[in-house]
């Protein structure tokens, strides 16, 4: 591996950071420059993510040591398959949300673009970091940016929901810190790989305390992932957030899932000695309860944004329950489901606003935004014309098709990738059960299928209301720049379906590496620092 290729590992953090900083300097006076910077940054992130996906396709884990300190003393960034997949997801979703925001949302308030870049930076950092404390730092970076994004556009509903969101997440951060310090106090390290090694030799009398610390840490992750009793903030916040912010928020809840995958499987995997499988039942039961709660919420909601928020809950619950079963084959399916559901929910959040634009419900949200930031609107009028463009004939048909695709993906019906993902979770559960299939498997199966049914019912009802039930068909004005990201995300889902074989193969290798983290440990702990001549 060449020198420049090594440094690519830190680029997903540095690129958005520099872009965001430059945008603050450029300010709102040179809006075109800011937009150009954002475009360069998001495209660069996409290319980087694709490159890193290729890099990760080996058993050798890539480690980037900041300041070239040995792994145990310094800060490390680690790239394995899971990180690469998450980076790619963040990049794709970031690109789509960025394009969408150019339609009108980025003018609904100040500093949209810098916040967006910092959020991407936080996401990428959280996916790459190799130690717990930097995970905390990057969580805070992305949360701080997401507070701003959730409030973007202002208005009473957003500020009210934003307040709850911020308080809940600050509290979760404090729990995170408590967990981290207990872990450090007992094990004397925060490097995840080193911690996994030391876990095996922790004295019996200290083990309980260490597990308690990790459980507190887990609660912080599960608040982000919105597991049942911890996730009441999610639908309200996501429904109130501006559209591009909501789309990017849909991967935010998956950061919690990522952290659970990474930390739980590394520390409590089969090789963890006395602590192996600690908390697995909690994940499984919590996941099942989250699915149940999400399904009820899906059926109970009257408006589309809430429906999307409830779908996030279902997808989180499915992932947690699948991870909680603690089998590599099921984790493979869960990873596939993760990719498919993040893309689908991202597309759905973007689509909702386009659909609602033709109706009164969405119009008033926009009106509030306009009211709050009305002054800047007049001078931008000429620019607005060229961006939004004319109403495309058949807009409603295109939106309807996209809505149908989202419904199929979220409900997990054939022929799209949502079905394959659920199948990939369920098939190994049944196959490996032996003669007697355990009750938990039946419960998970029932939950997955019933949540799919609930989603179908809710989406059908919402679709009929939105497309057939409108009094007179006022065609929503939709710019090409706004429908293109939705199409991009859905086409990617279709591509996932067509290319399911190779993708599942990649996920299988990723899941295998997560369950048997030998390569990860070896890669992080034994990598020699590059000599002075290598710099």
């Amino acid at each position: 591996m060449t020198d420049w290729a090594d440094h690519l590992l830190i680029a997903p953090i540095v690129v958005p950071m520099l872009a965001g900083a430059a945008m603050i300097v450029a300010g709102d006076r040179w809006r075109r420059l800011t937009v150009a910077l954002g475009l360069v940054s998001t495209v660069a992130l996409l290319l980087l993510a694709i490159t890193l996906l290729g890099f990760a396709e080996t058993p050798i884990v890539r480690v980037y040591r900041l300041g070239n300190w040995p792994s145990l003393f310094g800060i490390v960034l680690v790239l394995d398959r899971l990180s690469a997949v998450m980076l790619a997801l963040a990049a794709v979703l970031g690109f789509a949300a960025f394009l969408f925001s150019l339609g009108r949302w980025h003018r609904a308030g100040v500093y949209f673009h810098p916040l967006f870049q910092f959020q991407l930076m936080g996401l990428n950092g959280a996916f790459l970091t190799g130690d717990l404390f930097n995970l905390f730092v990057f969580f805070e970076v992305l949360l701080a940016a997401s507070y701003g994004m959730a409030l973007h556009g202002s208005g009473v509903a957003r500020v009210r929901a934003g307040l709850h969101y911020i308080v809940v997440n600050l509290l979760a951060s404090l729990l995170f810190l408590i967990g981290v310090s207990v872990v450090y106090g007992i094990a004397g390290t925060l490097n995840m790989a080193d911690l996994a090694v030391r876990m095996r030799d922790v004295a019996t009398e200290d083990r309980g305390l260490l597990e308690a610390g990790l459980a507190v840490l887990g609660i912080a992750f599960l608040v982000k992932a919105a597991m049942w009793p911890l996730g009441f903030w999610l639908p309200v916040t996501y429904a109130a957030a501006s559209t591009p912010a909501a789309a990017i928020l849909s991967i935010l809840s998956k950061v919690g899932i990522y952290a659970v995958l990474r930390v739980w499987l590394l520390l409590f995997g089969a090789s963890a000695g006395a602590s192996a499988g600690f908390g697995g039942t909690w994940l499984l039961v919590g996941g099942l309860l989250t699915i149940a709660f999400g399904s009820i919420a899906v059926l109970a909601t009257q408006n589309l944004p809430r429906l999307a928020g409830a779908s996030v809950l279902i997808s989180s619950g499915t992932l947690l329950a699948a991870i909680g079963t603690g089998r590599a084959a099921v984790t493979t399916g869960a990873l596939f489901y993760l990719v498919s559901s993040v893309l689908a929910i991202g597309a759905f959040f973007l689509l909702i606003e386009l659909v609602e634009r033709g109706r009164e419900v969405g119009a008033d949200v926009l009106a509030v935004t306009r009211e709050a930031f009305g002054t800047g609107e007049e001078e931008e009028e000429d620019e607005e014309q060229e961006v939004v463009g004319v109403a495309i004939p058949g807009t409603v048909a295109i939106l309807g098709l996209a809505f149908l695709a989202c419904a199929l993906l979220l409900a997990g019906l054939p022929p799209l990738s949502g079905f394959l993902a659920k199948f990939a979770i369920l098939a190994p559960l049944l196959a490996a059960g032996g003669a007697v299939v355990p009750t938990s498997t039946w419960a998970l199966m029932a939950a997955l299928i019933l949540s799919g049914l609930a989603t179908v019912v809710a989406m059908t009802r919402a679709g009929i209301n939105a497309f057939w039930g409108s009094p007179e068909g006022r065609v929503p004005r939709v710019g090409l720049v706004e429908i293109a990201p939705v199409a991009l995300l859905l086409v990617l889902c279709a591509a996932l379906t067509v290319e399911a074989g190779p993708v599942i193969g990649y996920m299988q290798a990723a899941a295998q590496a997560l369950h048997e983290p030998g390569d990860y440990l070896q890669g992080v702990l034994s990598a020699p620092p590059a000599g002075p001549e290598g710099r």
């Binding site: 805070e140 949360l143 701080a144 009210r160 911020i166 600050l170 450090y184 004397g188």
Partner: protein
């Protein structure tokens, strides 16, 4: 020393949790601040507590690692303080915005009638 620190952490955390569960935004933010102090002290204490010690070495003393407290938690606590400070400031702004937009300081943005 250990007893005083742990009692202090407990008192701060207890008051923080109590205030956090109150319905007014001001109480919530004070509660969060108290909780974050408790957490910061807690992190600080995981490095070990040592009272009446010299900063580095007393004259004539041969250094030994066993006689030092772990400096890493102190670095962690600095980071945590900075981050907590920034997010609390942000929260304060959002609270002021809520107060301005809804006209009440209830955390739900509206008064509940009893």
């Amino acid at each position: 020393m250990e007893l005083i620190v742990s009692l202090g952490i407990g008192a701060l955390a207890g008051s923080g949790v109590w205030l956090l569960l109150r319905p007014r935004t001001f109480q919530v933010i004070v509660g969060l601040s108290l909780l974050s102090y408790a957490v910061n002290l807690f992190i600080f204490s995981t490095g070990g507590l040592r009272s009446g010690a010299a900063a580095i070495l007393t004259p004539g003393e041969a250094g030994s690692l066993a006689r030092y407290t772990d400096p890493l938690p102190q670095a962690l606590v600095l980071t945590a303080i900075v981050i907590g400070f920034a997010t609390t400031a942000l929260l304060l702004v959002v609270m002021l915005a809520t107060r301005g937009l809804t006209g009440t300081d209830h955390v739900d943005g509206r008064e509940h009638e009893r």
